[in-house]
């Protein structure tokens, strides 16, 4: 009897131990470990697809005394996204960190981060979530500082301190809940919770702490320098997965712990912050001088879109309409994950080839790096939300929901954000194509260019066409 949930956490953990203990074979072990981890993660998704939610009790005690691992449609979808994105990043990293010291440092931390990510997505216990958050935070910071440049270390040190402030605040919320309800299990706490000062304070503390980690406006100040200065594969994982994990946690808590006590005002506030993030992030992306900085600001905007779903979810009663909204949220999060990972990997190729990533001087990139330019264009399709990308469907359902709940003002925000996104993506592409593209070879270094291309292609085409599978995975009726 194999427990696929526990395997999804322990396999990357063991891979981390192996690459730490045997630094001589780090590259080979890294590829094997990445494939094994992706397989066990996808195994969880397949089982959720077949049987619905899964739950396992490490230690066999069961809640409330023991702690549990749980996978439902939401976590299974994100787990699959993380597996595919992380596998692509791993293959890219074999080409990116080809030799030298940094390779020895990258792989162990990378597998620990992957393990933390899977553990966070599967956790069903509020304190266990705190431990996974810290593991994720420390590994992300260490990986982000791997270039060793002063800006990178300084930016990631700030990220570390802000992250610790966030997780301590989260933990205080957990302690208040434990004081009042005597349990740490998510489902049991959600069943026991009653409206009152304790529940409200815990909601504010936990959401606030996680908002710092998810870089929700106006708590986003640390993100652009930390993400823009990390090595390309690390930027990709930070933007596509790590920030998303903190956001997932907010969503999980609002649905499963605080579902009964969230007020329209609280959801509206989160929506308002999301709207500000969409406009501010897109605007700064348009003004950014460097490609990686542009990508980092665009992440702020994308997190903003996800926040816009909260007021609509709150206002929509249980039923197919709410299911559609929830699935659309996940679809947008996944599309963005693939698109942003692809964009950062392609930006890394550009930076490597041109020696810089200043947007104004990208002339002729298309000529030298056709595959990277094509990846940027495809990722741009998903970031703008053009059909047939998954974010097109996501935004469409978001706007429908806004009309149906009478909150039409969010549509304005979405339109402005989309126009700005189109502007910043076309700005990059117009610079890249300003010389006649006469590519000699489409792909020059397969191990780095193909992963970027596949990620971008998934975000722009596959997710849009295969969106119905997501509804099926989450156990909802197929969208009309």
């Amino acid at each position: 009897m194999l427990d696929s949930l526990a395997l999804a956490v322990t396999v990357p953990l063991l891979a981390a131990l192996l690459v730490t203990a045997l630094p001589g074979r780090v590259q080979t072990l890294g590829v094997i470990g990445a494939i094994a981890t992706a397989l066990v993660s996808l195994q969880v998704t397949v089982q959720v697809w077949q049987h619905g939610s899964l739950r396992s009790d490490p230690g066999g005690w069961g809640a409330p005394l023991g702690l549990a691992l749980e996978a439902d449609g939401l976590s299974a979808a994100l787990l699959a996204m993380a597996a595919l994105v992380a596998l692509a990043i791993s293959i890219y990293a074999t080409g990116y960190f080809r030799e030298g010291e940094r390779r020895l440092h990258f792989w162990p931390l990378w597998f620990l981060l992957w393990s933390a990510l899977n553990a966070l997505l599967l956790a069903a216990d509020l304190f266990n979530l705190y431990v996974t958050l810290e593991l994720l935070g420390l590994t992300a910071v260490a990986l982000g500082a791997l270039t060793g440049q002063r800006e990178a270390v300084a930016a990631n040190l700030r990220y570390l301190l802000v992250g610790l402030l966030g997780s301590m605040t989260y933990l205080l919320g957990v302690v208040l809940l434990y004081a009042a309800y005597g349990t740490l299990d998510i489902a049991l706490t959600g069943a026991a919770i009653r409206p009152g000062p304790v529940a409200s304070a815990a909601l504010v503390l936990m959401t606030g702490g996680l908002a710092l980690k998810a870089a929700i406006f106006p708590l986003h100040f640390w993100l652009p320098p930390a993400h823009a200065n990390a090595p390309a594969p690390v930027s990709a994982v930070l933007s596509a997965l790590v920030v998303k994990a903190a956001f997932y946690l907010i969503l999980r808590l609002w649905l499963d712990v605080f579902g009964t006590i969230v007020t329209p005002a609280a959801a509206g506030l989160l929506g308002l912050l999301g709207a500000a993030a969409v406009i501010w992030g897109s605007w700064r992306a348009l003004r950014a001088e460097r490609l990686k900085l542009l990508a980092a600001y665009s992440t702020l905007a994308q997190i903003g879109y996800l926040c816009l779903f909260f007021p609509l979810l709150q206002a929509t009663p249980e039923g197919p309409a709410r299911d559609d909204l929830l699935a659309a949220l996940v679809l947008m999060a996944i599309s963005h994950g693939f698109a942003k990972a692809g964009l950062f990997l392609a930006a890394g190729l550009v930076q490597h080839s041109a020696g810089h990533d200043r947007i104004d001087e990208l002339g002729g990139t298309a000529q030298h790096l056709p595959a990277a330019t094509f990846s940027i264009a495809l990722a741009g399709t998903a970031l703008i939300g053009l059909p047939p990308s998954g974010s097109f469907i996501g935004k469409w359902i978001l706007m429908t929901g806004a009309i149906e709940t009478g909150q039409w003002w969010w549509i304005l925000v979405i339109l402005i954000g989309t126009l700005l996104a189109a502007a910043y993506m076309f700005r990059v592409l117009s610079r890249a194509f300003n010389e006649a593209p006469t590519p000699r070879r489409f792909v020059t270094q397969a191990s780095t260019e193909v992963p970027a291309l596949l990620l971008a292609l998934t975000s722009a085409v596959v997710l849009g066409l295969g969106a119905q599978l997501l509804w099926r995975l989450m156990g909802f009726g197929v969208v009309a």
Binding site: V141, R150, N156, L157, L160, M168, V175
Partner: protein, 93 residues
């Protein structure tokens, strides 16, 4: 009841004092101390709620605090090492 409020209240005050110091001081070491005091506040709150009610006290919060202490010292070590790296670079210039 009064004693629990006293001890728990001290935990909350430590947390808030830590937040205050974290926000107003710039130097890395002071921010690290502030974070550790914040953490100690939360841990102290856990110990205080473990003790109420029956004897012997609730072991679950005790174990959580033990875990928390190790996590806090790990983060402290990493933050200070990063700070030292920055100082070394400043000195080399």
């Amino acid at each position: 009841m009064t004693a629990h409020l006293l001890y728990g209240g001290a935990g909350i005050l430590l947390f808030v004092l830590g937040v205050w110091s974290f926000l107003v001081h710039e130097a890395l070491l002071r921010k690290v101390i502030a974070l550790n005091v914040m953490g100690s506040g939360v841990f102290h709150l856990l110990i205080a709620i473990a003790e109420r009610g029956s004897l012997p006290p609730d072991p679950v919060p005790h174990a959580l605090v033990l875990t928390g202490i190790v996590v806090a010292v790990s983060a402290t070590a990493l933050a200070l090492a990063m700070g030292r790296r920055l100082e070394d670079e400043d000195d080399a210039r």
